[in-house]
Amino acid sequence: MSSVNIKFLLRLRGLLRKEFLQIMRDPSAIAIAFLLPAILLLLFGYGVSLDARNVPLALVVEQPTALAADFASQFERSPYFKPRRFANIHAAEAAMDAREVEGIVWLRSDFVRQAMHGGPALIGVLVNGVDANNARLVEGYIQQVWIKWLGAQATVTGHPAAVPVDTQQRVWFNPAVQSRDYLMPGLIGLIMTLTGALLTALVIAREWEHGTMEALMATPLAIREILTAKLIPYFVLGMGGMAASVTIAVFLFGVPLHGSLCVLALSSALFLLATLGMGLLISTFARNQFVAGQIAITSTFLPALILSGFIFDIGSMPKAIQVITYIVPARYFVAILQSLFLAGDIWVIIVPNTLGLLVMAVIFLGTARLIARKRLD
């Protein structure tokens, strides 16, 4: 028996060393593990933001007065807006049609008079509704500026503010209301889905293409040895990519990390096993790198993007779609990551989702093991 084990270890060592040498000589695996996450994080981190900042806004002041100028200056001081002044509403509307501005704030000629008399000082607000999400944000921001200004006016003029309710907002978990802080953890989950599945699928497809898989299969290797030898190096590489991603998120983008590294490492390991399992599964039928890459992207990356709750709230999806999200490993991982980054070790979230990841890892690796045959058919 012991001689069998020694041979097993010898074979495994041979395969691992080969894999290591290949990774060192052909940098494409390293590129997928480290470069791809870094590029995606930088792209998304700098390019994608669900916040509205520097929104171009048209200000139409029909009768320039000190009060109107004071109100308008509120917009100029706000980080959310980049106001441009227009003499009349028609010019502003034309600018909106040309999408030069996203919204119009219209101070009619009687604005000052109404405001001075403590009556309802009406302003006209027009928002470009083409991008509904953005429109709602802009609307909210304008309202905030408006309320703030009314409040300030009230203390100056002695008139109470003409707003029925005193709004006080406090944002939990993301006090800076930075969508980046919220997006980054989800993004890491998304990227690791792609990396994990793509790494194994491509590397095995390459062996099929070069005909080396056929040669391996004719040796006394057992299929579990081939799978194990593929799993270990790319698990290590994937964990390295994960560490790099977290480092970028925390140190470059300043995303807070409230939870413990230990939980992060454990859940990442489970998640990576699940995605590597998906990659192995893909590689059992995709025998060239092009097909393997296509399948990996469409069957892992896209579901993770749409169904993980990273951008779209799972709770507001139709029931049938919600059921589907349960087989997307990223769903569990994104939930854990968002909790770890924004809130801390919230066990009611971490425990069930970690169990979910464990089940996913077992399912994908198990299926790959069952389907993989040491044969070409």
Partner: protein, 586 residues
């Protein structure tokens, strides 16, 4: 291990069938094959591409399962315990299964680890293998940087790190230069003699059959015959002759002999025509070439290929294709159609083609003979105007390719390696596409398509997707596509690689007829015997021209008392050795 396994044959195959699904069709790869391979000898799996050789190899290696039937290796049922067999056999797939980004040494280490070779035995084993393969000076080189012949030997060394009882080699000699091929055979002979190893060797080269102790002759998923190749050849004794006629050209002789009564096969060999008769009776000049003067008939030694042709002819009724695709051009003077002077092509540091010069005259069949990597394809691409030359002059059909590549291309018909056809398009759609590419349209295009369907007997297949055609028909279609615009010059890149001998004969009949009608033909091949079909040829190795001339003259230089009938391969090897000796002296 059961006691009976010691006495069992190395490989036993019992009515094995295997088919594959290809889209909606079921393709039969092996049709109830039964055969046995004896221990300690080389058994050759001989047959053209698509015969089922690779499928059979994979079944024996346990990489595929049979649909029905039983495969036993060393008395063990491979379907039940593949690992038990795989521990005792070694398999070298096509393309050798090497990791190209690993060095020679690292490849050996990997396979030694996988095969469980103890570290204490490795040094000795490696030394032996490296010596045997001549790879000792290159242990640190990456496998991807080795030449084709060296890769083949490294692949073999990797499969031999743990001496197997059964060695499976899937087409190890395809495209490899003749020197490496000969060296490989020496290694195999050594292994069977000293280590009593059983070797299964698949090949599409019929001349390799004669080196095997036994052959399984395969064709279109069936086993045509099995046994000692000498028996196959002996069966043909007294039936082969060489015919010469002073008054007639060799192509005319062959044309007439092919349809003469009692003649089974007629092929051009050097300046003579070699024929095989239906029966072992000496033919008379009057019977063969009535009306011709000065006919000499001499007996010739039978070859293995003759028996294959006889078996194929017995299977399918004798069928002679129309030999003359109507004269394409008439009344043009003979001139230098292709002129190549001091042609050189570099890729960075690497010189793929090194200062070559040759000239091809109108109506000539001119061969570029060499192994993979000799620079044939690069030369071809430059001649077609697809790749600019680094230096030198290139004229095709009177056009300088540097200044007028497009008009020159209009005069050229090009048949690419592997028959570059659109697999999803039908035969007729392929013809229409390729003729449109040469600006044929309207009535003229329809007339040419009808001509192609009739001339190449593709009418019955006109709506079949070209990927579903048998290999021989694919070859016909590819040739038809290249001829749609009636080119003056025809370029053929490895045109008969892997097709069966009948398809190859038929193909050359058409090419001969084209040449007779004035078309200039340039053909590349790594198939040494194919050189016989050429009027003149050049031999290329490592980007250089080693020799130019008639096949007959190149062989004649070697003729001596101990080598009365040198083959083209002998000539090739002698030239390479001469070149090596010269470069060493310099």
């Amino acid at each position: 291990m059961t006691p009976s396994s010691e006495a069992a044959p190395a490989v036993r195959i019992e009515s094995v069938s295997r088919s594959f699904r290809s889209g909606r069709r079921i393709v039969t790869a092996l049709d109830t094959i039964s055969a046995e391979a004896v221990r300690g000898a080389v058994t050759g799996l001989i047959g053209p591409d698509g015969a089922g050789k690779t499928t059979l190899m994979r079944l024996i290696a346990g990489l595929l399962r049979a649909d029905s039937g039983r495969v036993e290796v060393l008395g063990i049922d491979i379907a039940k315990t593949p690992l038990a067999v795989q521990a005792r056999l070694a398999y070298m797939p096509q393309r050798f299964g090497l990791y190209e980004d690993l060095s020679v040494r690292e490849n050996l280490d990997l396979y030694a680890d996988l095969q469980g070779v103890p570290h204490t035995e490795r040094a000795e084993r490696y030394a032996e293998l490296l010596h045997m393969t001549g790879l000792a000076p290159f242990t640190g080189r990456l496998a991807g940087r080795l030449s084709g012949g060296m890769k083949q030997k490294l692949g073999l060394a990797c499969t031999l790190v743990r001496p197997p009882e059964v060695l499976l080699l899937d087409e190890p000699t395809v495209g490899v230069d003749p020197v490496s091929r000969r060296e490989l055979w020496q290694i195999i002979d050594h292994l069977t003699r000293t280590a009593a190893m059983t070797v299964l060797f698949s090949t599409a080269y019929l001349d390799e059959a004669e080196r095997c102790a036994a052959v399984w002759l395969m064709h279109e998923s069936k086993l045509l015959g099995a046994g000692d190749p000498k028996d196959f050849t002996a069966h043909m004794s007294g039936r082969a002759f060489q015919v010469r006629a002073g008054s007639l050209g060799k192509r005319q002789i062959q044309e007439r002999l092919a349809s003469a009564p009692g003649v089974m096969d007629a092929t051009i060999q050097g300046e003579a025509v070699r024929i095989v008769m239906d029966e072992a009776t000496a033919p008379s000049a009057a019977q063969l070439l009535p009306g011709a003067n000065d006919v000499t008939i001499t007996a010739a030694a039978p070859r293995f290929e003759d028996s294959f042709v006889a078996l194929l002819r017995a299977k399918s009724p004798v069928h002679l294709p129309p030999s003359a695709p109507a004269p394409v051009r008439t009344g043009s003077a003979v001139r230098d159609e292709i002129v190549v002077q001091h042609l050189t092509r570099r890729f960075g540091e690497f010189v793929a083609v090194d200062d070559i010069s040759f000239t091809v005259r109108t109506g000539e069949i001119f061969g570029l003979l060499g192994a993979n990597g000799a620079g044939k394809s690069t030369t071809f691409r430059m001649l077609c105007g697809l790749l600019p030359a680094s230096a030198g002059l290139l004229r095709v059909a009177g056009f300088d390719l540097r200044t007028a590549a497009a008009p020159a291309r209009g005069r050229i018909g090009y048949m690419a390696q592997k028959f570059s056809l659109y697999g999803d398009l039908s035969v007729r759609q392929n013809l229409r596409f390729f003729s449109s590419a040469y600006k044929l349209h309207g009535a003229r295009q329809r007339a040419r398509i009808d001509w192609a369907l009739g001339e190449f007997e593709l009418g019955a297949f006109k709506d079949v997707a070209s990927s579903d055609l048998p290999l021989g028909f694919k070859q016909r279609l590819a040739l038809a596509c290249a001829l749609m615009h009636e080119p003056e010059i025809l370029f053929l890149d490895e045109p008969t690689s892997g097709v069966d001998p009948l398809a190859r004969r038929e193909f050359w009949r058409r090419i001969n007829a084209l040449a007779e009608s004035g078309v200039t033909v340039l053909v590349t091949t790594h198939f040494m015997e194919e050189a016989e079909y050429c009027d003149r040829l050049v031999i290329m190795a490592q980007g250089r021209l080693l020799a130019e001339g008639r096949a007959e003259d190149l062989k004649a230089r070697l003729r001596g008392p101990n080598r009365p009938e040198p083959t083209m391969e002998d000539a090739f090897i002698a030239l390479i050795q001469e070149a090596e000796a010269k470069s060493k002296a310099a």
